[in-house]
């Protein structure tokens, strides 16, 4: 056989024209096998790595198992980035936050034993009945909530039931650590974390994006205000109350209260009466407080000065109406006396020559006729004022009847008057650009006279009970009869209010207290007027504010303290007038 004679060698050499092609093929074969060998080696190493190194000897490296991660992950890891932002007060105290909680749901299709599961669940959740739970567990569909925001112990008990169709879902719940303290301004959210009232609704987009918002409110002042208004309501068996503390220079609302209020965690249990925000949504005829504005206009227009006198001996007859004084003085009074004794007659006479349009324009500049839509909450009341400001309307509006505004608007307007006439706008969220309103409604000189008049009202007039020694409170009382259901006014149902500013020589704060339908008591000699109801409450608020904010009192017992008596010139003036009259 020919092939046996061929020389056998380990390498077949093919020579000739085919050798190049053969070498190429052999090279490819070697490359391919090397590739596969390397691949198998890598796989073998990986297998050894996973099974031996990571499996058996992991403790030598101190490496935790992958499965161990889960125990560190928070229950709401997916929602952590989207957690609703906190609401903070001006000092960074948390007044609304969201906490991760667990909710229980069922997949009825996977429930193996609806009877047993429902019985066991009824034991864990006493507020749910067996029948209710059974109906949910045997319902059609793949998902039904059984209980939202359950306690850790309840979760443990549900796990112990061992029903495969029950599942848990991490959810955030809105928590208000101070309970009902801020309820009307903050509002509330529904169970799905959607803002439904107050700032929770107004700031919803910002909060839902996870951003925290700091407000102008001060937790401590809010507490003081709420405590004192609750106390005065209790003392005088009042139906409702409201109040605000405002920075007189910027309009920042430091505290705002409307009572009765509600627990924002259980809004469904609150009555409508409790949910009604009297501070911003309610509009009221605030009464004599409006004499601040009317008197300021009379002084500013040059139509009156502190030497002007008004004959308050007889009521003013306009058409079929007659305007009389509540604190009747029955004499000719100077302008400061008209203000401090809160004479309706004097105020009407002061404004009479100016006309309705001038008063309307002035009130409009003070923001008393337009709703405060830029406050940031949706509960904003629309002020009520007559279409036509005729003689009688202008007359009654000059002393605060026949015009209804929210208490917050009135506080802001008073702040504008005492702030050298520069208009301030109330706000709850700090304004990014310092919105300096250059609009001045009255001159600094008129503002100064107004502040002296307000001080005089507290030292010598109707607001005597609002005085806090050392803090120079100035203010004005307002006692307004409420409109009665039969038309006209009801003298037994009143709104008693006081607005004050301090320190009155250069006010930093405006405080407003409003009490709805107070009843006279023995301590107040049967009176339920503002001087007896709202003014003492304002004094307590100012006094508590001073200690919380660390405001030092002015010592009135040192030499030269008489110069600090802001109302002294007016008092001397009145005394001199009295002397003249006596001669």
């Amino acid at each position: 056989m020919a092939w046996q004679t061929l020389p056998i060698s380990p390498v077949i050499r093919i020579e000739g024209e085919k050798s190049a092609a053969f070498n190429l093929a052999r090279g490819r074969l070697v490359m391919l096998s090397a590739f596969f060998i390397l691949g198998y080696v890598l796989i073998a190493i990986r297998v050894a790595d996973l099974s031996l190194v990571q499996g058996q000897f992991s403790h030598l490296f101190g490496v935790e198992q992958l499965a161990g991660f889960d125990s560190y992950a928070p229950s709401t890891s997916a929602g952590a980035a989207l957690r609703r932002g906190d609401i903070l007060d001006r000092n960074g105290e948390v007044i609304a936050t969201s906490l991760g909680m667990v909710s229980l749901y069922a997949d009825p299709k996977l429930i193996s034993d609806p009877d047993g599961a429902a019985r066991a669940l009824a034991g864990v959740f006493p507020d749910q009945s067996y029948a209710e739970l059974h109906a949910k567990l045997s319902a059609e569909g793949r998902f039904v909530w059984l209980e939202r925001n359950i306690l850790p112990e309840q979760q443990q008990a549900v796990l112990a039931i061992g029903e495969p169709g029950l599942g848990f879902e991490g959810e955030d719940r809105r928590i208000y650590p101070q309970g009902s303290l801020f309820s009307h301004l903050l509002g509330y959210t529904n169970v799905d974390g959607y803002g439904l009232g107050g700032l929770e609704a107004g700031l919803h987009e910002k909060l839902a994006s996870g951003e925290s918002v700091a407000l102008t409110l001060d937790l401590r002042l809010q507490h003081i205000l709420r405590r004192e208004i609750a106390m005065v309501m209790d003392e005088f068996s009042a139906k409702a109350g409201a109040g605000v503390i405002m920075n007189a220079k910027t309009g920042a609302v430091l505290a705002g209260v409307s009572l009765p209020d509600y627990d924002p965690h259980h809004v469904d249990k609150a009555e409508n009466e409790q949910k009604f925000n009297r501070l911003t949504l309610g509009v009221f005829e605030m009464g004599s407080i409006f004499k601040i504005f009317s008197t300021a206009l009379a002084l500013e227009s040059g139509n009156a000065n502190i030497n002007s006198t008004y004959d308050a001996r007889e009521g003013i007859k306009i058409g079929r109406y007659e305007i009389n004084d509540y604190h009747a003085e029955d004499r000719v009074m100077s302008l400061p006396e008209v203000f401090m004794h809160s004479s309706n007659i004097g105020t009407v006479l002061m404004i009479r020559d100016l006309g309705g349009q001038a008063l309307k324009d002035f009130y409009n500049d003070l923001g008393l006729l337009t709703p405060l839509y830029d406050l940031g909450i949706s509960e904003i009341g629309r002020p009520l004022s007559p279409q036509r400001w005729g003689e009688i309307e202008t007359a009654t509006i000059s002393y605060g009847q026949g015009i209804a505004t929210s208490p917050l608007q009135v506080a802001a307007a008073v702040a504008s008057i005492v702030n050298d006439g520069k208009v301030v706008r109330p706000h709850l969220v700090p304004q990014e650009t310092s919105q300096k309103h250059d609009l001045a409604v009255i001159s600094p000189e008129t503002s100064s006279v107004m502040r002296r008049l307000m001080r005089l009202t507290v030292t010598d007039g109707t607001g005597g009970n609002a005085d806090v020694p050392g803090y120079m409170v100035g203010g004005k009382t307002g006692t307004a009869d409420k409109p009665s259901a039969r038309g006209g006014y009801d003298r037994s149902r009143r709104i008693s209010s006081f607005v004050g500013a301090f320190p009155i020589d250069d006010p930093d704060y405006v405080v407003l207290v409003m009490v709805d339908e107070p009843k006279g008591i023995k301590k107040s000699y049967g009176y339920a007027t503002a001087g007896w109801v709202a003014a003492p409450a304002a004094a307590r608020i100012v006094s508590s504010m001073a200690s919380v904010l660390g405001l030092p009192p002015q010592n009135m017992n040192v030499a030269g303290a008489a110069d600090l008596d802001y109302a002294a010139p007016l008092r001397q003036y009145i005394a001199a007038e009295d002397d003249k009259g006596a001669r």
């Binding site: 390397l38 101190g62 948390v94 991760g100 309970g179 604190h327 006596a582």
Partner: protein
């Protein structure tokens, strides 16, 4: 052969590097998870701190345990009654001025000095009547 050794050496080095990278990644994930859990704890504790420090709660505690009391403001006389309590300089002088006839208590018909500053009169009568 040299190539094979080099390949094996590289493989060994790769295993070591990949091991240390995995270890570092595990550590990182663990620390991140711990940090998230601690943040969650802080969040809950902050809410609890605010709850425990709510002013209405502190106030009750201060009254109960520290004996602190709030200042009491006794209201003054009603403003409409205060007119009879005039400021001191307006009160009639206790010394009868020589021009004014002194009213004798026993003679109600005697000349009364008419003072047009009307509402101070009752007080001045009382004072002079006592003399």
């Amino acid at each position: 052969m040299l190539v094979l050794y080099l390949v094996l050496l590289c493989c060994g080095a790769l295993v070591l590097v990949s091991q240390s990278v995995q270890r570092a990644e595990y550590e990182l994930a663990k620390v991140e998870a711990q940090s998230l859990a601690l943040q969650e704890d802080i969040h809950v504790l902050k809410a609890e701190w605010q709850y425990l420090n709510a002013p209405q709660r502190l106030e009750v505690l201060a009254e109960q345990h520290l004996g602190l009391v709030r200042p009491d403001y006794a209201p003054k006389l009603p403003p409409s009654l205060s007119r009879v309590f005039v400021s001191p300089q307006n009160l009639p002088s206790p010394e009868p001025s020589p021009q004014k006839p002194v009213i004798k208590a026993q003679s109600p018909d005697a000349d009364i000095p008419l003072n047009s500053s009307s509402f101070f009169q009752p007080v001045s009568y009382a004072v002079e009547g006592v003399r």
